[in-house]
């Protein structure tokens, strides 16, 4: 992007799409590939959507002993990504006053959060037995339920996010700009509350091993910060236009350090938590963790999560001055593999039913009465639909509405980095 284009961006980044025809032309081919990928995903995923409405939840592997599966786990992950990325961003900009290139990422980051929110709502909405009754939570709320709080907070968060996006998109000065800043401050406790309550939805359940206690809400917060930093780092490295600027490299390295710090904190917290659960040797408590570590899907934990999602990224980030590419690869690996964490939090404790209540699973035979779970094709297809839908929302915002990073801060404040 030329200097002249940057100047135009400073005035109104959304108003100069036509002038960018040159750069768009250069990037038209990759854009077409992205659109094609999104549309192919949407078409393939639509089969899952059709199955969901034509056959209800009958073609899933969900059951009465394992009522929550990949859609709930993915919803939790999307909450971490959506809220975590904005939480870290707002903390860095407004609390720790990072005067780097990072503030220019606001628009793109809000856009990605909105896209992730769309994915999350699709999955959790269609996970309901009666998706068209989802609004009942708003009309007939039972405030004693943490799920009510989670949904209400998520709705409020969505409103705040849309307001911030609108303000960031059009308003550059004046009262509304101040409102945007205050909304950012407001989003901090709101985001923390949403993530912690999402964890508490599990934490208050004493019926399933491992979940009950205050650890899970805190793990959720740490996980959101880690996943959010990963997403922020990836987006900054991938989308920031001035890739040769000193501010870019320095910001990427600082984000890499932050990512490394959260990775180590998360690793230590999870290790300590696991040891505490295993140490007393209580079978019901330990069984769920045993399933995660040594069960049929051990490779999800050891290879996918610990190997590719923790050890490799830590190795890439540990050097004194890692290259931007290494930081980028570490962040991508983390984002892709971190889905294993909510999957391992949500599913194994439900599979331990036979340890908690021996004989219950075999007492009666019927569909949905088994203590095993692996997502079926229809579950994967609907997940692909949600991912493709969110991806297309992001593409639309990024390519059509031109919600791209703007470099107002580079050169002006970048020297302070």
């Amino acid at each position: 992007m030329s200097t002249e284009e940057n100047q135009i961006n400073k005035i109104d980044p959304g108003a100069n799409k036509d002038e960018k025809s040159g750069s768009v032309a250069r990037g038209r081919r990759p854009e077409r590939i992205w659109w094609a990928l999104g549309l192919i995903g949407l078409i393939i995923g639509s089969v899952g959507l059709y199955i969901r409405f034509a056959h209800g939840l009958r073609l899933t592997d969900l059951g009465s002993f394992v009522p929550w599966g990949i859609w709930v786990a993915t919803y939790e992950y999307f909450v971490w990504l959506e809220v975590g990325s904005l939480l870290v961003f707002t903390l860095l900009i407004y609390v720790f006053k990072w005067n780097s290139a990072l503030p220019g990422m606001a628009r793109t980051l809000y856009l990605s959060a909105l896209a992730i929110l769309a994915m999350a709502l699709i999955l959790i909405g269609l996970d309901l037995g009666h998706p068209f009754r989802a609004w009942y939570v708003l009309v007939y709320p039972q405030w004693g339920s943490l799920m009510t709080w989670m949904i209400w907070l998520h709705v409020v968060y969505m409103v705040v996010l849309l307001a911030k996006l609108a303000i960031e998109f059009k308003i550059k000065q004046g009262l509304l700009k101040k409102v945007g800043v205050w909304l950012s401050y407001f989003s901090l406790p709101l985001g923390v509350a949403l993530v912690v309550i999402a964890g508490s939805v599990f934490g208050v359940v004493l019926a399933r091993p491992i979940w009950q206690g205050s650890a899970l809400p805190i793990y959720f917060l740490v996980s959101a910060l880690l996943a959010g930093t990963g997403l922020l780092t990836f987006q900054f490295i991938w989308f920031w236009p001035g890739k040769r600027e000193a501010a870019y490299i320095e910001t990427a390295r600082r984000l890499g350090q932050l990512l490394l710090g959260f990775l180590i904190i998360g690793l230590v917290a999870a290790t300590l938590g696991g040891l505490v659960i295993l140490y007393p040797g209580v079978p019901a408590q330990a069984s769920a963790l045993h399933l995660t570590l040594f069960g049929p899907y051990w490779w999800v934990f050891w290879i996918f999560h610990i190997g590719l999602g923790v050890i490799v990224p830590i190795g890439l980030l540990l050097s004194r001055k890692p290259s931007v590419q290494r930081i980028g690869i570490a962040s991508i690996l983390l984002i892709v593999t971190f889905i294993a964490v909510p999957l391992n939090i949500v599913i194994p404790p439900q599979l331990a039913v036979e340890v908690v209540e021996p004989g219950l699973v075999t007492a009666y035979v019927g569909p949905g009465l088994s203590a095993s779970y692996f997502p079926t094709l229809s579950e994967w297809l609907l997940t692909i639909f949600a991912l493709a839908f969110g991806f297309l929302v992001f593409l639309f915002g990024y390519l059509v509405l031109w919600m791209r990073p703007h470099q107002d801060y580079v050169g002006k404040e970048g020297k302070n980095v």
Partner: protein, 303 residues
């Protein structure tokens, strides 16, 4: 009006004790029940019950079903908030016949994958010292139910009489209550049919269309006539045992209680100090499942 023979047959079905059956037969044969034979079924049964109640108790074993039914009617005369329904299951008497499971499924027209009262079987010991233990598992109707507080829309509530009920029209199907239930007593209605894998009717064979008529019969859970329809409630809802509230309101014992061949399942009002269940739960050999959780189950086990 039923024919006398039909009324007698129904009367015999309702009375399980051989002595009482013989008394009824005697009275029918000897003609003393001739008047009763011209009565309606309910009137016949009432007459029989009256005869049984009037009989001298010395030398005969009282039928707990008759006692519980009388107690049930007595409880129904009180306001609902003064009743406290509880169930007592005598594990020493349960033979694992699963009649209660079947009766419950038929009474409530339960689809595949939904069960309100399964019987957990457990083999104890090693050969040659081996025994079987049967633990019937209805919803325990906890006084402090973890499933109620987690519902985001208040679709499940604890009634004044202690039964935890479901509002199918309110339930959104999030299944959080199933997650929160420490006893796995809640089941999700995915919409499966008993006849999914059965071929269609042919001239020589009754297929899914003919046999499936039974699934089209309405259920009367929570006192409301409801027919399972495609993707409509209760499909997509969480379902659970409700102590056959619709039967209780009609003065009938829950299906599992009425069907139990060994009188192992007993039912009544814990607020009535003279009820059978009140007597039983005051014994030292009574226990409840996972009491350490503080859920205060209203299903007691005699061991």
């Amino acid at each position: 009006m039923k024919k006398p023979d039909e009324a007698l047959a129904i009367g015999l079905e309702q009375i399980s004790h051989p002595f009482e059956k013989s008394k009824l037969l005697d009275s029918a044969v000897l003609g003393s029940a001739g008047e009763a034979s011209n009565l309606s079924v309910n009137e016949t049964l009432k007459a029989v019950e009256k005869q049984l109640e009037d009989m001298p108790t010395a030398g005969r074993v009282p039928n707990p079903l008759i006692r519980m039914k009388a107690e049930l009617r007595r409880a129904l005369e009180k306001p609902v908030d003064q009743r406290k329904w509880i169930m007592v299951i005598d594990l020493r008497k349960c033979v694992g016949c699963h009649a209660c499971t079947i009766a419950c499924a038929i009474e409530n027209k339960l689809p595949p994958g939904v069960v309100y009262r399964q019987v957990v079987e457990e083999e104890i010991g090693k050969y040659p010292n081996v025994a079987m233990r049967f633990v019937p598992r209805p919803c325990l109707q906890c006084a402090n139910p973890p499933c109620v507080s987690v519902c985001p829309v208040g679709a499940t509530k604890i009634r004044p009489d202690g039964v935890v009920d479901m509002n199918y029209r309110r339930c959104i199907g999030c299944r959080y209550c199933m997650i929160a239930c420490p006893y796995n007593s809640r089941y999700f209605d995915f919409g499966f049919s008993q006849f999914d894998d059965i071929p269609s009717d042919t001239g020589a064979m009754l297929g899914k269309e003919g046999a499936g008529v039974i699934e089209k019969l309405p259920a009367f859970e929570y006192g409301r006539e409801r027919q399972r329809q495609r993707e409509g409630s209760p499909i997509g809802n969480v379902r659970k045992c409700h102590f056959c509230l619709h039967r209780l309101e009609a003065g009938q014992l829950p299906a599992c209680v009425a069907t139990c061949i060994g009188h192992a399942t007993l039912f009544g009002d814990a607020n009535d100090p003279e009820s059978l269940v009140s007597e039983l739960i005051a014994r030292p050999n009574v226990m409840r499942l996972r009491e350490e959780l503080g859920t205060e189950p209203q299903v007691y086990y005699l061991v």
